[in-house]
């Protein structure tokens, strides 16, 4: 593992993206976000700030939600990455994607893939049951359109579906 330059073949890494194992040559300075967007055509993951200040680039790395803009691609060797493209397609939406549509939990749509990846992880993490907890644990995803109340509604819907308890009991 050593130095790379633009134009040089780069460093070979093995990563699994949305279930598909891939061998890719990356430059040392490539972030995971730029690798996804520029090199792999997976533009569902968004660049909002490129500095970990907005959450638009959130993906799941080995199941954990992480800002892909601050991860060097070369360091992802051996990891499993899930992006919004791997969460669900229009013909078969993830329940949280459907809930986002039903609750109108987005407007411009730019922060949405990051919100959904983050929300899926939040549900898996199991630390949020109340609206206050959802709000706090979704605060790593900025939505400039201000869809926050609807985002909380959408996540709460899926939490309730998952747990089988009523909405009132969850509050």
């Amino acid at each position: 593992m050593s130095q790379t330059q633009p134009g040089s073949p780069g460093i070979q890494i093995q990563i699994t993206i949305n279930g598909e194992p891939r061998r890719i040559a990356v430059q040392a300075s490539n972030t995971l976000l730029d690798l996804l967007r520029h090199d792999l055509g997976l533009t569902g993951t968004k660049k909002g700030c490129d500095h970990g200040q907005c959450g638009a680039c959130t993906v799941l790395i080995d199941g954990r939600r992480i800002n892909s803009c601050l991860q060097l691609a070369v360091m992802q060797d051996g990891k499993e990455i899930t992006t919004i493209e791997g969460v669900g397609q229009a013909s078969q939406l993830h329940p949280l994607q459907q809930a986002f549509i039903e609750r109108d939990a987005f407007q411009c749509g730019y922060c949405t893939p990051g919100q959904i990846c983050s929300g899926i992880a939040l549900i898996e993490e199991g630390h949020a049951a109340t609206r206050d907890e959802i709000r706090e644990l979704m605060s790593g995803n900025i939505c400039r359109c201000g869809a926050y109340p609807n985002i909380v509604d959408a996540i709460e819907d899926v939490l309730v579906q998952r747990s089988g308890v009523s909405r009132e009991a969850a509050e």
Partner: protein
């Protein structure tokens, strides 16, 4: 971002040998601060040494003397949700959860949290003078926009603050930093790990060249504070913002008597701010009428405001009193209900 070489360390010795004699080399783990600063051109390492594959830096384990050892690679989230930490050092868990976001906490490591750099506007903007970034260029924050800057322990060279929440709790809990370098292993008391800026603000801490943080250890005695503690953070929005002022307060309560006290401030100095005298005035006092405001006055003695941050002195004083009240009552500040109890 500059061009750099990348080296994935396979052993700790390998990592140290890469750092040794190569001042342009930097360690990377979580990346949440270093990659951020590299994109701003604030950090321009010639080589990145990736230590994320080093098993000896992982995991939370018991120490022989009954404390806990947190490996440098343990992500902030794992610290926050670890059962042993929540049972014995809940102040630490609370402080970690008060900082950053779930995504950042999943990536950011314990060692990286110690070594994160200031959020000073000017440090982060290479178009402006900054002694921390470019020694000798001047401090733009002095006489500039300094609402978020230090009120304690600053110098004519730098008025930046340390941005960590976790470190405020570690300071209060008398943690130790375990480092390994070319000359072997050593342990640094937490209070001695971070520096005040003095005339060398470019140095954030007392790590020597080639040294790597391998773990942070929490002493057994600090678990005596698990019943009465709080981490109270005041900031410009209710989440995802650095502290204007934060307080880690912990009391060892014997009946209604305070047997020991710990008090540290974040957001006010170049390092977590602690003064033993402030804690000592509380010892032996009743939780009902302990001189919390006196403790605050001692801790804040010598505070020096700048044009825009004088409010921090008053805010810190009030926050200390409230935090000590919360600790005394055994009602730590909720991290999700934003009402301050």
């Amino acid at each position: 971002m500059n061009r750099f070489s990348y080296h994935r360390a396979e052993t700790l010795a390998d990592a140290i040998s890469h750092l040794r004699g190569n001042p342009a080399a930097a360690i990377i783990a979580g990346g949440t601060n270093l990659v951020d600063l590299m994109k701003y051109e604030v950090e321009r390492p010639g080589e990145l040494v990736d230590v994320t594959r080093l098993d000896e830096l992982r995991g939370i384990s018991e120490t022989p003397d009954g404390g806990l050892r947190i490996g440098a690679l343990v992500p902030n989230s794992d610290v926050a949700y670890d059962e042993r930490i929540n049972a014995r050092y809940p102040l630490l868990a609370h402080a970690v959860l008060a900082g950053a976001t779930p995504q950042l906490r999943n990536a950011a490591t314990t060692g990286g949290n110690l070594n994160q750099r200031t959020r000073c506007y000017y440090f982060n903007d290479v178009a402006t003078p900054c002694n921390k970034r470019e020694p000798g260029s001047g401090c733009s924050a002095i006489g500039g926009v300094n609402r978020i800057h230090a009120i304690l322990g600053a110098s004519d060279y730098c008025i930046a603050t340390h941005p960590s929440d976790m470190c405020v709790a570690l300071a209060a809990l008398d943690a130790e930093v375990e480092v390994v370098g070319p000359d072997g292993k050593r342990r640094i008391a937490f209070a001695d790990y971070h520096r005040l800026p003095g005339d060398e603000p470019q140095r954030d801490n007392t790590l020597r060249p080639g040294e790597i943080v391998v773990a942070v250890t929490l002493p057994r005695e600090a678990s005596a504070f698990a019943g009465n503690y709080t981490y109270l953070k005041l900031r410009d929005r209710l989440s995802y913002a650095f502290a204007l002022v934060s307080v880690a307060a912990a009391l060892k309560v014997d009946g209604r008597r305070i047997a020991a006290a710990r008090l540290a401030l974040g957001g006010v100095a170049h390092k977590p701010w602690r003064k033993l005298e402030a804690e000592e005035v509380l010892v032996g006092m009743s939780t009902d009428d302990a001189p919390f405001s006196r403790a605050a006055d001692i801790l804040l003695a010598g505070a020096q405001p700048h044009e825009h941050n004088a409010f921090k002195i008053d805010l810190a004083r009030r926050a200390i009193v409230r935090a000590l009240s919360q600790a005394a009552a055994g009602t730590p500040q909720s991290l999700t209900d934003k009402r301050i109890a």
